[in-house]
């Protein structure tokens, strides 16, 4: 094959079957263990859809109401199931509508394979109807992408796509298939990809780096761990917990690391970053050792890099070499999958406890509780707070639910206050901050973990960006619980306007429709809560109702999320009000 990366394959004699490229697409998906895909048909992908009809007992297709919904649903599915999410669309606008979800998956390391139809190969480059250069468009936001113009290339390209999407640091891959390649017949056989010549999925771990890291950990008086999604993606929750418990190190999470460690764990000291907790942010600039585990020092986490943890030695456990020393210089970089590196370092770590150091966290947590948390969870003023809604959900679900949050104030509240007892429970758009993410992602999250309760926490702004996916929920009878925290504002932007733009609320106030009528229009039971005394019962009703449920909670219009680190400020300049 002249256009794809060289694959490492073994010489094998494989049985072949004559079929079209379109049928081969389905057979490749089945060979990769895919039984569920999200998508939207159209002219250039119709041959594949036609074959889907034949295979519908083996491969379920969920028709979303917009291609963006398909990608977010595939992301949600991947995040709760740990499998690769698959989304499919036609050429042109179908393909471009996937881009937001692909970009979101890229920055949040979500394994996803997107399939797009393309105009026939003889029309490529002619500005044909619904032609767009989706390979060119998606290049900066995919881990890999490839255009197929010959049916015979389909098996190898699909095998590679799944291998690349799920291996190493996961990410989205796009395969664009011309219509003639879908019709063309060839002798199909399939062999999973075992390796690619130029691609080292997981970098080797230098034994010396483990020893150096262990020495620093054993010598540290005030160590702090910041863990990210690498712990979840590497399925390293057990190894991670063993390490922090043996070494007695306080552990703080990034937004995507959330749920890797149970909320109630005594060494869980909360979230770092812009709306993170007071203690871990303040003490980042006091620790003598900062241990980053599967996280990438995003600017929302670090604030001003010139003042970030300058006093500390830094150890970085990381799978992606491009993340090491990108934002924060490390003293020791331990490369590899954290499941393996944490297991290997554990025997080298001395048993320890840092009681005096932990007490510093507890002292600051008390300050934050008095000044922020108490008022948010147990407000005395009249308006409902977002935090008390989360408290109500925690009380009802006991921390066992999957919480899918959209983007905005409610996201920060959900991530700060939702309680989690198990991993893969927090699904949110971290790096890209995509409004409209939560409703379709919740559909995928529920299908990826059907045995679990899935609750989407959404603001009135983001809800209306993908509100049409209520149709997908209705059609598929997907039992997601939707909670819209309605403050009739684009709340986070309004908060910034209040704090940094002299309260000039430019285009942030929303006149909303009757959300209850809309939900009922899709045959989803719905309730609106405006008073505190109605809240507990409404949440109970939502959770005990079989199937989907829509709950609108009218919350205080102008409330702010604190603590907060203003953009460009130091993490230790975290504000409590």
């Amino acid at each position: 094959m002249e256009t794809a990366t060289q694959t490492v394959t073994k010489e094998t004699t494989m049985k072949t079957e004559r079929m079209t490229g379109a049928e081969a697409v389905i057979r490749c998906l089945l060979a990769e263990g895919v039984d569920l895909i999200y998508g939207y048909p159209g002219g250039a992908i119709m041959p594949v859809y036609d074959e889907l009809f034949k295979y519908e007992d083996q491969l379920t297709h969920i028709l979303t109401r917009h291609e963006q919904g398909a990608t977010h649903a595939a992301q949600g599915y991947a995040r709760t199931s740990g499998k690769v999410g698959v989304a499919m669309a036609t050429s042109g606008p179908g393909a471009t509508n996937l881009v937001t979800g692909i970009a979101d998956a890229q920055i949040d390391s979500t394994p996803m394979v997107c399939i797009t139809g393309q105009v026939a190969s003889h029309l490529l480059g002619s500005d044909a109807f619904q032609e767009t250069d989706i390979v060119g468009i998606s290049t900066p936001v995919t881990k890999w992408n490839h255009q197929v113009t010959k049916a015979a290339d389909i098996p190898e390209v699909f095998a590679k796509a799944f291998y690349i999407a799920r291996s190493g640091r996961p990410g989205p891959v796009l395969i664009d298939i011309t219509k003639d390649a879908q019709f063309e017949e060839f002798d199909f056989s399939y062999e999973p990809c075992k390796g690619i010549r130029s691609y080292k999925a997981t970098p080797p771990t230098e034994p010396k780096s483990l020893e150096d890291a262990a020495d620093l950990i054993n010598a540290a008086k005030k160590p702090l761990i910041v863990f990210g999604q690498g712990v979840i993606l590497g399925e390293a929750e057990e190894e991670f917990t063993a390490l922090i418990e043996k070494a007695g190190i306080p552990a703080a999470w990034t937004i995507l690391g959330l749920s890797a460690l149970p909320t109630s764990h005594p060494l869980n000291v909360g979230m770092v970053g812009m709306h993170g907790n007071y203690a871990p942010n303040k003490l980042t600039n006091e620790c003598d050792l900062l241990i980053a585990v599967g996280m990438r020092f995003d600017d929302r986490v670090t604030g001003n890099l010139d003042t970030y943890a300058k006093q500390a030695k830094v150890i970085h456990f990381e799978i992606d070499p491009a993340e090491v020393d990108k934002n924060v210089m490390s003293d020791v970089a331990v490369m590899g999958n954290v499941k393996h590196t944490l297991a290997k370092i554990l025997p080298l770590i001395n048993k320890n406890d840092h009681q005096a150091w932990l007490q510093q966290f507890n002292d600051l947590m008390e300050i934050e509780y008095d000044k922020v948390i108490k008022n948010e969870l147990y407000p005395e003023k009249e308006g409902l707070s977002m935090g008390e809604v989360l408290r109500g959900i925690n009380e009802e679900t006991k921390g066992d639910a999957v919480i899918v949050s959209d983007v905005g104030q409610h996201q920060m509240i959900a991530c700060r206050y939702a309680a989690f007892s198990k991993s893969k429970s927090n699904v949110t758009s971290g790096g890209l901050g995509t409004m409209g993410f939560a409703l379709p992602a919740a559909i995928g999250a529920k299908m990826g973990a059907p045995e679990r309760d899935v609750i989407a926490i959404i603001g009135d702004g983001g809800y209306q960006m993908t509100i049409q996916e209520l149709g997908t929920i209705f059609q598929n009878n997907t039992a997601v619980k939707i909670v819209v925290l309605n403050n009739e504002f684009l709340g986070m932007v309004r908060q910034w306007q209040q704090l940094f733009f002299e309260k000039r609320y430019a285009s942030t106030e929303m006149t909303n429709p009757d959300f209850i009528t809309i939900a009922r229009g899709y045959h989803i039971p719905a309730k609106r809560v405006t008073k505190r005394e109605e809240l507990k019962e409404a949440i109970k009703e939502m959770m005990t109702t079989e199937g989907a449920y829509f709950l609108e909670v009218c919350v205080e219009k102008e409330n702010n999320v604190f603590p907060m680190i203003p953009t460009g400020a130091s993490v230790s300049d975290v504000r409590l009000s």
Binding site: G136, P140, Q147, K194, R197, K200, K326
Partner: protein
């Protein structure tokens, strides 16, 4: 950190679209490319991009890791000018009349070590290979006489040290098969 010239060598699979991926890495960081050359390499089926940029060492180090992150990239290196042997080639198309009527132009050609590639009744073509400043010096001397066409290639470079790409390729293959 001060900016300086770096020659980046990228060994890759031969894939459509890779050029886009690599150039996008520079585009995203708003780094102008001084030159970009693609060619075959000493290894069968392995291609090589030679890119020249003026950046800080910290920038070039981060760019290298981003380039190596691309699936089809086998290995990327960066070198300072004194660590490489590098050349560029330029072609000058000049009216044949000048060659015969302007005695001085003949001296310029002789002194510059340029080669005459072809001569026709209308024009002749001069080829000059060398470092950028040598090509520019010749350009400055010829330009006043009038140039019908001028074109210059990107930099091509080999390093003074060995790069062991074949050995690196073996480690990739061995790791994945096992």
């Amino acid at each position: 950190m001060e900016k300086e010239n770096y020659t980046i060598s990228v060994y890759t699979e031969n894939n459509i679209g890779l050029l886009n991926r690599i150039s996008a890495i520079f585009l995203k960081r708003r780094i102008n490319l001084d030159s970009f050359t693609a060619s075959v390499s000493e290894i069968k089926d392995v291609f090589r991009f030679t890119i020249v940029v003026s950046v800080t060492e910290e920038q070039v180090r981060k760019i290298i890791t981003q380039i190596e992150k691309q699936i089809e990239v086998i290995k990327a290196f960066y070198h300072r000018d004194d660590e490489t042997i590098y050349q560029e080639t330029a072609l000058f198309k000049i009216s044949s009349k000048l060659l015969f009527e302007e005695r001085q132009i003949q001296n310029v050609i002789k002194e510059s070590n340029a080669q005459i590639v072809t001569v026709t009744p209308e024009f002749f073509v001069l080829e000059k290979t060398g470092r950028r400043y040598e090509v520019e010096a010749l350009y400055d001397k010829l330009e006043p006489y009038g140039l019908m066409q001028f074109v210059r290639s990107g930099r091509i470079a080999v390093t003074k040290e060995k790069m062991h790409i074949s050995k690196i390729l073996e480690t990739f293959t061995i790791e994945e098969v096992n």
